[in-house]
């Protein structure tokens, strides 16, 4: 059961978790990324590559599902403009055993940082700036190869 969404509206993590638990798997892991309040950022804009993004997320979710024999994998990535404290991304996995659910969840969020066409633009009191890619993300994604 693979579920990929790119909403412009806030992410409902409770509903997503409930779906994952419905996969009857025994173990559910999740990760939620939020817009931090303490970075001097007044708003975050997420730009993406329509069509290509959906395909990239589906491919990622399918790769995780096969590698860890998941009962369910969910990726919800918000796009557009969002405010501090709001959720940017939710990743969730359901598996028979906890190690598979946890490892697959970490894999998905690491790979999302490098394999999906998203760009972040931060609005600050000093103006707007595009976020630079981090080499740490490449390293984190690479550990799954």
């Amino acid at each position: 059961m693979i579920r990929v969404l790119l909403p412009t509206e806030p992410i409902d993590t409770a509903a997503e978790l409930a779906r994952l638990e419905g996969a009857e798997a025994g173990a559910v892991a999740s990760f939620t990324g939020l817009v931090r309040r303490d970075d001097g950022v007044s708003a975050l804009e997420l730009e993406h590559y329509p069509g290509a993004t959906d395909a990239a997320l589906l491919k990622l979710a399918q790769a995780a599902s096969e590698r860890w024999s998941l009962s369910a994998a969910t990726i919800v990535h918000r796009v557009g403009r969002m405010l501090p404290g709001e959720r940017i991304v939710f990743v969730g996995t359901a598996a028979r055993h906890r190690a598979a659910a946890l490892d697959a969840c970490a894999f998905l969020i690491d790979r999302l940082k490098t394999d999906a066409p998203f760009w972040k633009r931060e609005e600050t009191p000093q103006g707007a700036r595009w976020v630079e890619a981090r080499t740490a993300d490449d390293a984190a994604a690479g550990r799954w190869d």
Binding site: D115, P117, W119, K120, V131, E132
Partner: protein, 83 residues
């Protein structure tokens, strides 16, 4: 051929995309970038730093040495920062 620009590439180009018909000798992404830069000062400035440019051909991530032969859609953008 449909071109798409994202993030600061889009901003610097002043447009999200355009339809172009490069000549036959423009065979790779790198050659397409060079051809675009020759079209005017806006394009020249926007695409000057190729180390900060990434590309997709027909929605598949590729290196700048990749072929654009028979491509329908080429996207140019900065390294991704999502997730």
């Amino acid at each position: 051929m449909e071109l798409l620009y994202f993030a600061w590439v889009r901003e610097k180009m002043g447009r999200g995309g355009e339809r172009v018909a490069p000549p036959a000798e423009v065979e790779t992404v790198a050659q397409l970038i060079a051809w675009l830069r020759a079209r005017g000062p806006v394009e020249d400035a926007a695409l000057a730093d190729s180390t900060r440019l990434r590309a997709a051909v027909d929605q598949v991530f590729v290196g700048l040495d990749a072929s654009i032969k028979s491509a329908r859609e080429v996207a140019l953008f900065p390294p991704v920062t999502g997730g």
